[in-house]
């Protein structure tokens, strides 16, 4: 991955904090910067704040302190800014969250037409291209409930890509899948990374992290414990906590 060229910082996260209404502290003074075309993998035990971090990046959760800047736009109370950021940041969920009342094709075209104001024809062309890219074009007119988990997740990726996002976030995208389907989704994610998409990935797939990521962040209790390039991080972790975690899951 050393040949990869990174651009400027597209995401700047400065000491953000988040406490849920029930008093659980999800993020504490968390900072990180992500460059264009960089693939950042967040790992850590459950409840460490990885998913919350992703959800803060596109405004699904409000941060209490600190600041988030995405592609030069400050994520603040300004509705326009928030909408702009949501358009630029695509998200893939653990449970796919496809729209069950719409066909696969409509799942992908709806937001293009509503948000990007594309015509139906344009949106459908784009959708078919993306479906080909995720190897599922033959299922365009099928409803999500008729697809396997892996297929659904690939459609979900296509749906997010249709918005032409500058950043793609994956929130444990393979955790809800049967083992034999994980591969096909990871394959799509790898291709995406190779095309130079900026990606923030929360995953438990250490193989994927090792192979694809440019930067790995290990989190616990809402804080960054350790970070580094994939080579460094997996072969030579510094902190005891990281070593313990890696020994448990590898």
């Amino acid at each position: 991955m050393s040949a990869k060229q990174f651009g400027d910082y597209i995401i700047r996260v400065d000491s953000i904090g988040k406490t849920f209404d029930n008093g659980v502290v999800a993020l504490k003074n968390f900072s990180t910067n992500i460059r264009r075309s960089e693939v950042v993998v967040l790992i850590g035990p459950s409840g460490s704040g990885k998913s919350t971090f992703l959800r803060c990046l596109n405004g699904l959760e409000e941060i209490d302190t600190g600041s988030i800047i995405v592609d030069g736009i400050l994520l603040d109370d300004n509705k326009k800014n928030r909408l702009e950021i949501r358009k630029e940041v695509g998200m893939v969920f653990q449970h796919f969250n496809l729209f069950p009342h719409l066909s696969v094709l409509k799942n992908i075209t709806l937001a293009q037409m509503l948000v990007r104001k594309k015509s139906k024809g344009e949106a459908e062309d784009e959708a078919m291209q993306l479906l080909q890219k995720v190897n599922i074009a033959e299922k365009a007119n099928v409803f999500p409930s008729q697809l396997s988990g892996g297929q659904q997740q690939r459609v979900a990726i296509a749906r997010a890509l249709a918005m032409k996002p500058k950043v793609m976030m994956f929130d444990e995208a393979t955790s809800a899948l049967d083992p034999e389907m994980i591969g096909e989704v990871l394959e799509v994610m790898k291709n995406l990374a190779n095309e130079g998409m900026t990606m923030v990935v929360v995953t438990h797939e250490m193989g994927f992290a090792k192979e694809v990521s440019d930067w790995v962040i290990f989190m616990e209790d809402g804080m960054k414990v350790e970070e580094g390039t994939a080579d460094h991080f997996f072969s030579d972790p510094k902190m005891d906590r990281t070593k313990l975690f890696l020994s448990q899951i590898l």
Binding site: H101, A111, L114, F143, A156, R159, A160, M163
Partner: protein
């Protein structure tokens, strides 16, 4: 569908015998003890009668009443769904003010006897609001397509104001129940659906309009249809404000002819003819949804 054969048990025979005895008792009371003079042959003319002047069969009071009941039910349900959807959305809103309004509305309507609501809304809307709108006046005297359309769908212009106030009264009353149905439908949709739509950059309105409401309505179709049946039944309440729907006509007719039993049995059958098919349709619908067919 899978159906299991149920063997006849001893208790079934006992219950059957009890039913039979009860049936005989009722028959005895009606036929012998009551000494009621049945006059069924007089009833059909109140449904349809032969008009000597025009030489055609024309509908009569009971059918007029039935038509009014159908009008009230259909348009009342449509209005109630409109109101209930708006209030249901308010009810699940994040804005406290909207929740307060819709909450007050629902709680008031659900905790008052329908009759009281009918009077309050009728005397307020019917006597103080609608006359100013003068919808009926504008139409009166004109003989065109619009008038016949209004007459066919709602009521003749001279009765339009009364009819509309009854319609609104029913809609406001049933709307409260539909509000709760819609709210439960909206809240039954997985949070992930909102989040997916949110992350695709849709506005709150778009999320509601294109993602949440279509799914919610799919789910609440059976209870909504049930509410339609409720409204058919509840429409008889507006007879107290002299809307000539089925119950009102029956009551009027009874006073005039004293054919008490015949008229009310006829009316019972007429109501059942309206509600039972709906009821069966709902069961079909629920079966299909249970099987997960789309």
């Amino acid at each position: 569908m899978y159906k299991k054969k149920v063997p006849l048990k001893k208790s079934d025979l006992i219950f059957g015998a009890l039913f039979l005895i009860a049936g005989i008792a009722v028959y005895y009371r009606v036929e012998i003890a009551l000494n009621y003079n049945w006059n069924w042959e007089k009833i059909p003319q109140f449904l349809y009668r032969f008009d000597d002047d025009s030489g055609k069969w024309v509908s009569n009071v009971l059918m007029w009443g039935l038509f009014n009941t159908i009008r009230l039910s259909i348009f009342g349900t449509l209005l109630a769904i409109l109101l209930g959807t708006i209030m249901g959305i308010c009810r699940s809103s994040k804005i406290v003010f909207l929740r307060l309004i819709s909450g007050t509305y629902v709680e008031t309507m659900r905790n008052l006897p329908p009759l009281v609501i009918i009077f309050i809304v009728y005397f307020f809307i019917g006597n103080h609001l609608l006359p100013y709108s003068s919808i009926g006046d504008a139409l009166q005297g004109k003989d065109n397509f619009l008038v016949s359309l209004v007459t066919f769908c709602l009521a003749p212009p001279e009765h339009l104001t009364t009819f509309l106030s009854a319609l609104f009264t029913l809609a406001i009353f049933e709307g409260a129940y539909i509000t709760e149905i819609v709210r439960s439908g909206i809240q039954s949709i997985n949070r992930g659906q909102w989040e997916a739509a949110h992350s695709l950059g849709m506005t709150k309105y778009q999320q509601m309009r294109y993602i949440i409401l279509p799914q919610a309505f799919q789910r609440i179709l059976p209870p909504l249809a049930g509410q339609f049946i409720s409204l058919i039944k509840d429409s008889s309440i507006v007879s107290v404000i002299s809307i000539p729907e089925l119950s009102f006509r029956a009551n009027e007719l009874m006073t005039g002819t004293l054919l008490t039993m015949e008229i009310w049995i006829t009316v019972t059958i007429m109501y059942l003819l309206l509600t039972l098919p709906c009821s069966l349709a709902i069961q079909k619908l629920e079966d299909r949804m249970a099987q997960g067919l789309r």
